[in-house]
């Protein structure tokens, strides 16, 4: 909960991994992705490694990591437990789907159904991660309607970016993914801005007056905290530096998470679309010439070979 590195890494890596798995499980059975086993292996391995690394990392913020398995027990009431159960359950259909695709080159039929199932489980896992935060009533910045959608849009952004990257090793000119990746970045940017606007313009239902049941005489304010030194709550929940530099930190997040990826996506989109189309047109014009050149070159090589053998 405290933004330790293990939790930041977990949220980012697992979000990207499960979103990539969601896209693969959805698109491969529909025949929208390269059918090569090699592509299936690299793409699915990326998704599995990211999701697993994130989950393993999340264990390190626990006070008693060796008891982490106990977190699978309370799925009936706890979103944290539900997330744990769903993240592990996702690997079952995903593993069957991966075996079918990588070892047998099959992505449709029954294997395709396991792909869809893996996609559904991955999406539910992401929703559970969001709900851990969205279900906490005391924290206004989390307990609102923007939190779960943001987990989806940010996850999908990472998933589409990864998919577009991997697909380029198998397809020279990928159709759809460059544009979808750009749209996913823009959607994530919009939802993050909407979230920021929401938390800036609204406030928690509770305040110091309702927390103390005072206020009938006027304004309530703290005179003395319970102690002169630190305590657990301040260590866990008091973030003065982050609050102080809110505007700049948001600017950094905006540039590195949205503006740069969007620009790079745009360049990739132009590179794989417009520029390639231009090059294709030039190639058509030059085809006759290049064909003749190639023939000439082959003849030269052949004659050189013959000359060498003769010597």
């Amino acid at each position: 909960m405290h933004p330790t590195f293990s939790i930041v890494f977990f949220t980012t890596a697992s979000g990207a991994g499960f979103a990539l798995l969601f896209l693969l499980g959805l698109a491969a059975p529909l025949g929208l992705l390269p059918e090569s086993s090699g592509f299936g292996f690299v793409a699915l391995a990326t998704a599995f490694v990211l999701a697993t690394a994130g989950l393993v990392s999340s264990v390190f913020h626990l006070g008693r990591p060796e008891r982490a398995w106990r977190a699978f027990s309370q799925w009936r009431s706890s979103w944290l437990s539900r997330e744990g159960v769903m993240s592990v359950m996702t690997f079952v259909p995903a593993a069957i789907f991966a075996i079918g695709w990588i070892f047998f080159g099959v992505t449709d039929g029954v294997i395709g159904l396991f792909g869809f199932l893996a996609a559904i489980c991955a999406a539910v896992t992401i929703a559970c991660t969001g709900m851990i935060y969205a279900s906490l009533k005391p924290i206004h910045q989390w307990h609102n309607r923007w939190v779960v959608p943001n987990y989806f849009t940010l996850g999908l952004m990472a998933g589409f970016l990864l998919l577009d990257l991997i697909i380029r090793f198998w397809t020279v000119r990928p159709v759809g993914t460059p544009l979808l990746a750009l749209l996913a970045v823009l959607a994530a940017w919009w939802s993050k801005e909407a979230y920021w606007r929401f938390i800036d313009t609204t406030s928690a239902p509770s305040n110091v007056a309702s927390a103390t049941a005072l206020g009938s005489r006027g304004r309530v304010r703290m005179l003395e905290p319970p102690h002169t030194q630190d305590n657990y709550l301040l260590q866990e929940m008091g973030f003065h530096i982050a609050r102080k530099h809110k505007t700049r930190l948001r600017l950094i997040a905006r540039i590195t998470a949205f503006v740069l990826p969007a620009l790079l996506c745009l360049i990739a989109l132009i590179g794989s679309g417009t520029v390639a189309a231009g090059r294709r047109a030039l190639a058509v014009l030059r085809r006759g010439e290049t064909h003749r050149d190639a023939l000439l070159r082959r003849r030269c090589r052949l004659s050189l070979c013959r000359a060498g053998r003769a010597r």
């Binding site: 909960m1 405290h2 913020h61 626990l62 006070g63 008693r64 990591p65 008891r67 982490a68 106990r70 977190a71 699978f72 027990s73 309370q74 009936r76 009431s77 706890s78 979103w79 944290l80 437990s81 744990g84 851990i132 279900s135 906490l136 009533k137 005391p138 924290i139 239902p205 509770s206 110091v208 309702s210 927390a211 103390t212 049941a213 005072l214 206020g215 009938s216 005489r217 006027g218 304004r219 309530v220 304010r221 703290m222 005179l223 003395e224 905290p225 319970p226 102690h227 030194q229 630190d230 305590n231 657990y232 709550l233 260590q235 866990e236 929940m237």
Partner: protein, 254 residues
């Protein structure tokens, strides 16, 4: 199980009633709590850098001080705060392991330390800041309502109360069954308009707080009489001591 226990009419709800009018902020309840509980059910309550700068540690009860109002009307309110043993305790339902639970028989919220994984989610679910993390053992701890005192046959019956209630020098703390409308604590809450903290969150805390009494108005509230009238009244009183002047006064007042 971290589901909340089933509820039924007349269910026992043990809790505290804290009189903000009487509390003088002496921190005796916090000290007594620490002293008892560091050897009690949730023991130990560790301290870190206890004798140096940056000392901190586990305390189940902490006393805040607030100012209510402005200027002469302002009132300093000392505000002891510990676990409120909520009826709708989110700290229990968010727990992924079943370590956090609410007892069906008396409503006390406890932590089973041998199940706790130290994920700290319960501390984020608690709006009252009642959860305390033991960084030595890596588990969450909290107020037990001195469960090892209130049911302790080895203590004299009058001592079977939470340590904070026993020690309070101004008798600002009361312990009892808030589920029974006829109990002494329930009657006190009804008589003094005791309230919930943050009722808008819907946690339905069992512990209740009695607001400070309004007290005598002072400062600009009192109708200050002009000085001349005060002097005139004093002279009247002096004159009234003289029987002749009293007779003249009575005669002329007709």
């Amino acid at each position: 199980m971290t589901d909340l226990p089933p509820t039924y009419p007349g269910q026992k709800k043990l809790g505290l009633v804290i009189d903000l009018d009487l509390c003088v902020g002496c921190h005796a309840c916090a000290t007594a709590c620490k002293e008892w509980n560091t050897g009690g059910h949730m023991a130990p309550l560790p301290d870190f850098n206890a004798y140096g700068d940056g000392a901190w540690g586990v305390w189940f009860n902490r006393i805040h001080s607030f100012e209510d109002g402005e200027g002469e009307r302002a009132c300093t309110v000392h505000f002891p705060k510990s676990c409120l043993h909520c009826e709708d305790a989110a700290c229990v339902t968010v727990c992924p392991t079943g370590a956090s639970y609410k007892r069906v028989e008396d409503g006390i919220v406890l932590v089973n330390e041998s199940l706790c994984i130290g994920c700290k989610l319960c501390s984020w679910a608690c709006p009252y800041g009642a959860r305390e993390f033991d960084a030595d053992e890596g588990v969450m701890k909290k107020c037990t309502l001195c469960i090892d005192r209130i049911y302790n046959d080895n203590l004299a019956p009058q001592e079977r109360q939470p340590a904070c209630v026993m020690v309070c020098p101004t008798k600002a703390r009361f312990f009892g069954d808030l589920g029974d409308p006829n109990s002494a604590v329930s009657e006190l809450v009804a008589a003094r308009a005791g309230t919930d903290l943050m009722p808008e969150l819907g946690y339905r805390p069992v512990n209740k707080y009695l607001p400070p009494r309004r007290g005598r108005p002072h400062g600009e509230d009192r109708e200050a009489a002009p000085l001349s009238a005060v002097i005139a009244e004093a002279q009247n009183e002096a004159d009234a001591a003289n029987p002749l002047l009293r007779w003249v006064d009575r005669l002329l007042s007709r």
